[in-house]
């Protein structure tokens, strides 16, 4: 294993690793535009120039493999390197429009950050340009992305992403010299279902998100690390929110799950939670909104209906969009309060589809984030599932229904599933539905209890690989809606006189204990918590005060 020294710190790296990879692992921040850990290196921006002992010229850290005993100096410690990097910055700024005040990237712009860096930025430009090279601005490349060519630093991250990752090769450079310009052929709309990543990839304000553009200045955003609940892949992402509203989702880098990408559907999945059709009060079938204590009392009355014969079961169905913690309490409620019950999570083909790819990159057909979790918790028996429940209800073999249901965050519920749910509610004499939205196909519920949606509650999902990932709470649920675990704890208390803890770490400890697949996992150190946002940000020095956004 080659041993390399970067700015006096030593690290052993695998053969073939590059200098920038070694430096990243050491936490030595080497400025870069074109380098991205999940794209092939191209070495065009020349920002990562470093000095290597014994080399006549500066080399690019992104494309130079480490050799044993290499001694590297970054611009933080080498004056020659710092001067070179400053020179590159000066070149980049010659034709840059410097329109930061109206640029949406301001605050998370690498060009801005690097210029502000005390070690190699903050130069006084000798270059006074009267006439900058003019290029095209505000070109809408499809529904997700806007291009401003003048801000582009030609790092080609987007070109490489489009060619190598999404594979559609929709972007290319044209012209030469300082007239080089990024284009999509004939300005056609990008058809890439992953186009949103281009805005994240772009280190400057050339490619910005049409969805997020001009919504908020980024320094006003709070960040919460979480995972996507749009499908069974479980891409790691960061929720950017302000004033109890999610403003955007950006991917976090987790090479084991999603590299540095998320799909556009997942990226926009927060819009559903932000939507106006949220259920915010316990709701009786007649449309009457009631307070929580009444809601719980109604639930008790509806579900405690004695079944004289004792042969008809309570049907319990919790969708695989619920967290592992909610599923655990749901299972406790059903098994402890109702000796005669059936328990399932399958609305349709989740168990068959959980690993099925929708495309070559990330998307999967199963639009439930926690199918594997529900499976591990023993929610499926044979036969079972929604269709089987429906048959039982048609046959009158049902005393009541408890349903914990989340509409999919990506796309709409499958029409057969929606129809089956509506029919089931119609057939069951009594039904209590815990859900997030006012859904037309759940209108038949005797009682609807509002619960928190994704990003409004903390918990874990188990993705298609069986990897347990942490989903965080970023915002408060609307109105009187509460976390599903809290509602389930209330119901458990009502039926069993025992109130379980709703603390996610306590619930997860129990899962770790009882589910073989989770043995040895530590809630605080789940792999998804180690994922990082790329490009790294928030590490730059802006001086003692920092940017407060005031």
């Amino acid at each position: 294993m080659p041993l390399v020294t970067v700015d006096g710190q030593q690290i052993e790296v695998e053969p073939g690793a590059t200098i920038i990879q070694a430096a990243d692992r050491l936490g030595v921040e080497i400025p870069r535009f074109c380098y991205h850990p999940d794209l092939r290196p191209e070495g065009n921006c020349r920002m990562c120039l470093v000095q290597v002992e014994g080399f006549a010229r500066l080399v690019v850290a992104c494309a130079t493999p480490v050799t044993d005993g290499m001694v590297v100096s970054s611009p933080h410690t080498s004056a020659e390197t710092a001067e070179a990097v400053q020179g590159v910055l000066e070149f980049l700024l010659i034709n840059h429009p410097l329109d930061c005040p109206i640029c949406d990237q301001a605050g998370e712009c690498s060009l801005q950050d690097f210029y502000m860096h005390p070690d190699y930025g903050l130069h006084t430009s000798q270059v006074d340009v009267v006439e900058k090279v003019r290029k095209r601005k505000r070109i809408e490349l499809g529904p997700r992305i806007v291009l401003d060519s003048e801000r582009c630093v030609m790092c080609s991250r987007c070109v490489r992403f489009s060619a190598d990752i999404s594979g559609l090769a929709e972007l290319q450079f044209i012209h030469r010299g300082n007239r080089v310009e990024l284009i999509a052929f004939e300005d056609r709309a990008l058809e890439d279902p992953y186009a949103g990543n281009l805005a994240d990839l772009c280190p400057v304000g050339a490619l910005t998100s049409r969805d997020f553009r001009f919504r908020r200045r980024v320094w006003h955003l709070a960040h919460t690390d979480s995972v996507c609940a749009g499908c069974s892949t479980g891409c790691n992402l960061r929720i950017d929110h302000a004033e109890n509203r999610i403003e955007r989702l950006v991917p976090r880098r987790n090479p084991a799950v999603n590299s540095s990408w998320i799909c556009d559907e997942g990226r926009l999945s927060y819009l559903r939670a932000n939507g106006p059709d949220r259920l915010s009060q316990p709701l009786l079938s007649g449309g009457e909104e009631v307070a929580w204590p009444d809601g719980i009392r109604h639930a008790q009355e509806l579900l405690a209906t004695d079944d004289a014969s004792g042969t008809r079961p309570l049907l319990a169905l919790a969708s695989a969009s619920a967290t592992n913690e909610s599923l655990l309490l749901f299972k406790h409620l059903v098994t402890r309060a109702f000796p005669h019950h059936r328990l399932d999570f399958r609305l349709s083909q989740e168990t068959d589809l959980v690993g099925a790819r929708q495309d070559h990159l990330l998307r999967r057909w199963d639009k439930h984030p926690n199918t594997m979790g529900a499976f591990y918790l023993g929610f499926s028996e044979q036969p079972g599932g929604l269709d089987d429940y429906l048959q039982a209800a048609e046959a009158g073999d049902c005393v009541a229904l408890v349903l914990l249901y989340y509409p999919p965050l990506v796309g709409d519920e499958l029409p057969p599933v929606a129809a089956a749910l509506a029919r089931l509610l119609e057939l069951c004499p009594h039904s209590v539905v815990l859900t997030t939205h006012r859904l037309p196909y759940l209108k038949g519920a005797s009682l609807s209890l509002p619960v928190a949606a994704w990003a409004e509650e903390e918990g874990t999902y188990t993705n298609y690989q069986g990897t347990v990932q942490h989903s965080a709470k970023a915002t408060e649920p609307p109105g009187a809606a509460r976390e599903a675990t809290a509602v389930l704890a209330d119901l458990l208390h009502t039926f069993t006189n025992h109130r379980p803890s709703t603390a996610p770490e306590v619930l997860f400890a129990e899962l770790e204990h009882t589910v073989a697949a989770y043995r040895g996992l530590d809630y605080q150190h789940l792999p998804s918590r180690l994922a990082s946002v790329y490009p790294p940000e928030g590490r730059m020095h802006y001086g003692e005060e920092g940017f407060s956004g005031r």
Binding site: G87, V88, I94, Q126, D128, R176
Partner: protein
């Protein structure tokens, strides 16, 4: 003198295979085929032949980096994208002795174990594509190329690819990218073409003139070749002479020939009544030599290097004493700004910026520190780009300014008046920006730079 490259270039109908064969064409290839690959490489290494495209890398050593493997085809690419301003020697060879070049290709391909070779031809040389295609067809029909070259069992196919007129395609990785059908953005090395070049396979890129030396080396032997020339510069060099000389043209020069002697004898000296002022010895991307510097220089790698310049491509441009350096430099700088591929930052922005500063300087709108700015800009580019074009663009700017600084200084505005404004007389900020009278005078004269046709 020994003529190696131009023995048959004046022979009428040399493009015809039978005529060429009567002159000995393909005897070198035959000689090569009778030996093992390694022997051919050793022979070329022993000859001391160095790359004639500009860098002067030993050809045999370049070949020795190739390690053929059964599953990894090797490619030979002949770089005929001759686009260095002032250079037209390959054109001369391709047009007048295509079989010599083709034979060189065949020998090199055999030596490195390639069964496929491409001639990457500059787009502007489209007429030569017909000449070369004819030569390839004739050679194929005669069994010289094909599945079993000259009956040896060694197979070789040669294809021609026309460029589209970009300087960057002459850079070897840019050429490879272009040949693959991609935008000609040079690649970061490592990996080097010898390990992962065309289609990610082992690849050698050799210049036309380099390859044209091979038949002679094969028939006459390495020792004889090494005996021609001087020191570590073996053989002869084609020099394409242009500028203010009496007899511009392509000349084969034995390495070590004194530069001034060459200019005066082959080149016929300066026009009557004029003196040599400066000479660019190897294409515009090498530092210019003043007449004084040129006096002791001989045409070979070592002497040029000692004089602070390079033999380069052999594109020699002479300037007489009527030449004005600033407009000549602007023309050169504009060429590099136009041709920079735009891939890496220093070259993309630096070339445009240098041209822009020179332009405003010549327009009489220069700033007091513009010359230092130009030199500093060059420092920020040099050695920091992906390919050599960054350095290529810097050399002329820095050498012109350093060696002919007074001519450039004459274009600068006067230093700002240190006296407070209320004590100045009639010098508003606008007139202070205007250049000195010298600028107007300089600009009113006809510009006599190097011949713009070849730039």
């Amino acid at each position: 003198m020994t003529r190696i490259l131009t023995r048959h270039t004046d022979q009428p109908d040399q493009v015809q295979l039978d005529v060429a064969r009567r002159g000995g064409a393909y005897q070198g290839f035959e000689a090569a085929l009778s030996r093992s690959r390694q022997e051919v490489i050793q022979e070329v290494e022993a000859s001391g032949l160095r790359g004639r495209g500009g860098a002067g890398f030993p050809t045999g050593r370049k070949w020795s980096f190739i390690h053929p493997a059964p599953d990894r085809p090797v490619y030979l690419l002949c770089n005929a994208d001759e686009s260095e301003p002032g250079t037209f020697k390959d054109h001369y060879l391709l047009k007048r002795d295509p079989h010599l070049v083709l034979e060189g290709i065949a020998i090199a391909a055999y030596a490195i174990g390639a069964h496929k070779a491409y001639l990457y031809l500059r787009g502007e040389y489209a007429s030569l594509a017909m000449v070369m295609a004819g030569a390839i067809e004739q050679a194929k029909a005669a069994g010289i190329l094909g599945d079993s070259c000259l009956g040896s069992g060694y197979g070789l196919r040669v294809s021609i690819q026309l460029g589209a007129g970009a300087y960057i395609c002459g850079e070897e990785t840019g050429l490879i990218q272009s040949l693959e059908g991609r935008r000609a953005y040079p690649r970061v090395r490592p990996p080097f073409p010898a390990s992962a070049g065309f289609l990610d396979q082992p690849t050698v890129v050799n210049n036309v003139e380099t390859l044209a030396n091979l038949p002679w080396i094969m028939t006459e032997g390495a020792d004889r070749y090494a005996g021609v020339g001087t020191g570590r510069s073996a053989g002869t060099k084609l020099v394409s002479l242009s500028g203010q000389v009496s007899r511009p043209g392509v000349y084969e020069v034995t390495m070590g020939r004194p530069l001034l002697q060459f200019l005066n004898e082959e080149g016929g000296g300066m026009p009557p009544g004029r003196q040599l002022k400066a000479v660019i010895p190897g294409g515009t991307s090498v530092p210019i030599l003043s007449a004084d510097e040129a006096a002791g220089v001989t045409i070979d790698y070592e002497s040029m290097q000692a004089a602070g310049t390079m033999l380069g491509s052999g594109g020699m441009i002479a300037f007489d004493d009527t030449a004005q350096m600033p407009p000549a430099l602007l023309r050169i700088a504009e060429f590099y700004a136009h041709e920079s591929c735009g891939e890496c930052t220093p070259c993309r922005e630096g070339t445009g910026w240098m041209a822009w500063v020179l332009k405003r300087l010549l327009a009489g709108e220069g700033r007091v520190n513009d010359l230092d700015l130009l030199l500093r800009t060059g420092d920020n580019m040099e050695g920091r780009t992906i390919c050599g074009l960054g350095d290529a663009a810097v050399q002329p700017v820095q050498s012109f300014i350093r060696k002919f600084r007074p001519e450039f200084e004459a274009l600068l505005p006067p230093a700002p008046d240190p006296s407070p404004p209320w004590q100045r007389h009639g010098h508003g900020p606008r007139s202070a920006r205007m250049g000195p009278p010298a600028v107007e005078a300089a600009l009113s004269e006809p510009v006599e730079g190097p011949p713009t046709a070849s730039l």
